[in-house]
Symmetry: C2
Subunit: 224 residues, 2 copies
DNA sequence: ACCTGAACACCGTTCAAGT
DNA sequence: ACCTGAACACCGTTCAAGT
């Protein structure tokens, strides 16, 4: 009379799982960098074949989005200020901080400017805060987009720098190219040449973000 | 007594040339898109072999930079306003307009945030205008960088959209994903869902740029 | 149901040889 | 000097077959 356990399995028991695949992918990402993460390399890491992976993820893009998803959901979710301008800035900052640890995802995200669901609360907060700042919903989306472009750009260039570091910097450095410029036609660039690398390597994301938010708010807000 | 012509050629006469290679590359770019431009495809276009190309360009990156170079130098160079804020904005706008026609270059440019020499006058003008706005050279470079990130981000996402269009849009659209959100936890996103695509497809680069410039100037400028 | 092997249709680039 | 062919060391993905 005892019924057969309803969750009876059929077929071969799985050797791989999404979790195992994601864990292996994270290992490669951490130890060898995003450029080394290929379906073939990942299969090797799991002592499996490339094709076995396609039983657990639809394609490589889905794999990358799953990685972002797990990274974003593990990220500590900070208290946001109640005051709208501060909330907008703080939310945008979290967005940046989450993605700064996986800039390789921007290439995937760029295809359609949207996100992992576990990061959607950030977008919601940004738009809501912008509306509370006195903007229309349409303007709020526009503010969100400008900030997203800024963030995506910073990440793209961050990724480029990382790649460059990985390729061991054998190419002539930009400082030299700048120093070689004719100071008659490029006075500013020529005089800045020696300090260029230092200037462009400093992290100024946050100040830029604040300035952008304030610029947008003053441009759009009805002058009360 | 007549000396032998000093430019006497030795060896085999060239069948390929940089110009021919660049022209063919531009043809592929225009007709089939940036994704189709590979060294092998380019060789085929020229009825040659992939390896013949390496006699005229160092590698694929150099080829892409040469393409940018020729594109940028052909671009009409507009009069810039004398007034510094306007000049800063106008220069940044040209930068954007030049690159908007070849967003695929951003991946290459991103490796080190610098340019084709025939676009350097823009950077020079941006930094010079920022200094004339009352900023220090260091602040001016920082302003340039924020604008460059914004521009690079817009281009990256533009490229993504183009790629998406090329892959024939067979994936479920974001509007659906947004509409499926719980309006209790994502009230803003849920209510915007139906208009999302339209809102995110409109070109708002210029307004964003102006707002960013003004935001940066008010944040940095000594309150006179 | 889950996994394997071989194959397809590509990449960028190096190297040794040909004219 | 300029070009070719074959090869190296990869990609993501599909398809037919195995257990």
């Amino acid at each position: 009379m005892e019924p057969r356990t309803p969750t009876r399995r059929t077929g071969r028991p799985p050797r791989l799982s999404r979790e195992a695949i994601l864990a292996a992918a994270q290992r490669i990402l951490g130890e060898e960098g995003a450029d080394q993460l290929s379906m073939r390399r990942l299969a090797k890491e799991l002592s499996s074949t490339p094709m076995a992976l396609y039983h657990h993820v639809r394609d490589k893009d889905e794999l990358l989005l799953l990685l972002l998803e797990s990274h974003a959901s593990a990220f500590p979710r900070p208290e946001l200020p109640a005051e709208p301008r501060g909330r907008l800035i703080a939310a945008a900052q979290v967005l940046h901080d989450i993605l700064a640890e996986c800039p390789w995802i921007v290439e995937v995200l760029a295809s359609d400017d949207l996100f992992a669901v576990s990061a959607l609360w950030i977008v919601e907060n940004m738009i809501d805060a912008a509306v509370e700042c006195g903007l229309t919903p349409e303007q709020a989306v526009y503010v969100y987009r400008v900030i997203w472009y800024y963030t995506a750009g910073e990440l793209t260039i961050r990724l480029g720098r990382e790649r460059r570091r990985a390729t061991l910097d054998r190419q002539p450095h930009r400082t030299q190219a700048l120093a070689a410029l004719d100071p008659e036609v490029f006075p500013r660039l020529a005089s800045l040449a020696s300090g260029w690398d230092e200037l462009t390597n400093t992290d100024t994301h946050h100040e830029g973000l604040v300035a952008i938010v304030d610029g947008l708010l003053t441009a759009l807000r009805p002058t009360a």
